[in-house]
């Protein structure tokens, strides 16, 4: 458990929020997206998206700008991960993988059930 706590300390806890994690994962996989497409893909409200995108932008993980849109508006808000955002996401994913392997190892020896949360 101490090892898991140490691994968790080295990652940004802001990215451990499920919605922010999903936003960052989608941008990491696809590349720049409009906020309209992000909201539709994640099935969240505009308020939710706005709060989480703003938080990620403040941390320097997202770049926001207005670009040509494919929807009803000529210009629409777009987001992409910054280099810092990509780096932090990759670091987080590596740490989560290590934590899962440690926890899975512990579960096998103690025969406990359920998926761990962070």
């Amino acid at each position: 458990m101490e090892d898991v706590a140490e691994l968790l300390k080295s990652v940004d806890s802001d990215l451990l929020n499920p919605k922010r994690f999903a936003i960052v994962s989608l941008l990491y996989a696809i590349g720049p997206m409009s906020l309209r497409d992000l909201r539709r893909a994640l099935g969240i409200t505009w308020g939710d998206l706005d709060n989480n995108v703003r938080r990620l932008h403040e941390k320097g993980y997202l770049r926001l700008w207005r670009g040509l849109g494919s929807g009803p508006r000529v210009l629409e808000a777009k987001a992409e991960l910054t280099e810092a955002g990509v780096g932090e996401y990759e670091k987080l994913v590596e740490q989560l993988g290590r934590i899962l392997r440690k926890v899975s190892g512990t579960k096998k020896s103690s025969n406990s059930v359920g998926s761990p949360s962070v």
């Binding site: 996989a29 696809i30 590349g31 934590i99 998926s115 962070v118």
Partner: protein
């Protein structure tokens, strides 16, 4: 009220899928770029040959040298435009070294065209020069991308090897016939780019379990 918690195994599964998708898009992007540049360069040289015929410039070294230099400038400009037009996820290697793509690409052309070739060969010297350019781009950018697992194919390497391997044939045909050598070179460039692109698309498909 506390924040929602991240389900660890789901997060790791999502991240794994995100990494595969990112690699898939980067590999497919490389494949389509090859198809685009192959078609574009073929179209350019067909227009240049048309111009050579109209101006009777076949034996003018200056004409062919100007055509090669113009192509290099156009490729750099087109490279910039396509990067702006398709802002998908960019690999680390391209972000750091992409601005050197143009100069690295140009050097073999400049070196080979300053060598004293027999007259007929100037019309096809761009072919082995292209092989060396593609190989240099592989060593400078693509190899790093591939080793870091950012892409799952090496179209620059594959096409450079095909072109390098067929260069003696092109030079031999050019020695016998100017036009035949040039047409063969153009045809083999398109073929090598198509093979490299197809190979990249097949490798990309494997990433998603197909």
């Amino acid at each position: 009220m506390g924040e929602e918690q991240l389900d660890l195994s789901r997060a790791v599964a999502l991240a794994d899928l995100a990494q595969k998708m990112r690699k898939y898009f980067l590999t497919v992007q490389a494949a389509y770029a090859f198809l685009f540049y192959g078609s574009f360069i073929t179209a350019y040289w067909l227009a240049i040959v048309c111009l050579a015929e109209l101006l009777k410039a076949w034996s003018l070294d200056f004409f062919w040298l100007a055509a090669v230099l113009t192509l290099i400038l156009i490729v750099i400009l087109v490279g910039y435009i396509t990067a702006v037009a398709s802002p998908r996820a960019t690999s680390d290697a391209w972000r750091k070294r992409g601005k050197f793509f143009g100069p690295v690409f140009a050097v073999p052309f400049i070196v080979l065209y300053t060598l004293p070739w027999p007259p007929n060969f100037y019309i096809v010297v761009w072919y082995p020069a292209l092989a060396v350019s593609l190989l240099l781009e592989h060593l400078f950018i693509e190899r790093g991308e591939y080793r870091q697992g950012e892409i799952s194919a090496r179209p620059f390497l594959l096409s450079s090897l095909i072109i390098l391997f067929t260069s003696p044939l092109v030079l031999a045909v050019a020695a016998a016939s100017l036009m035949a050598g040039w047409m063969l070179a153009l045809s083999l460039v398109l073929l090598s780019y198509s093979i490299a692109a197809l190979s990249a698309l097949c490798n990309a498909r494997k990433l998603l379990g197909n």
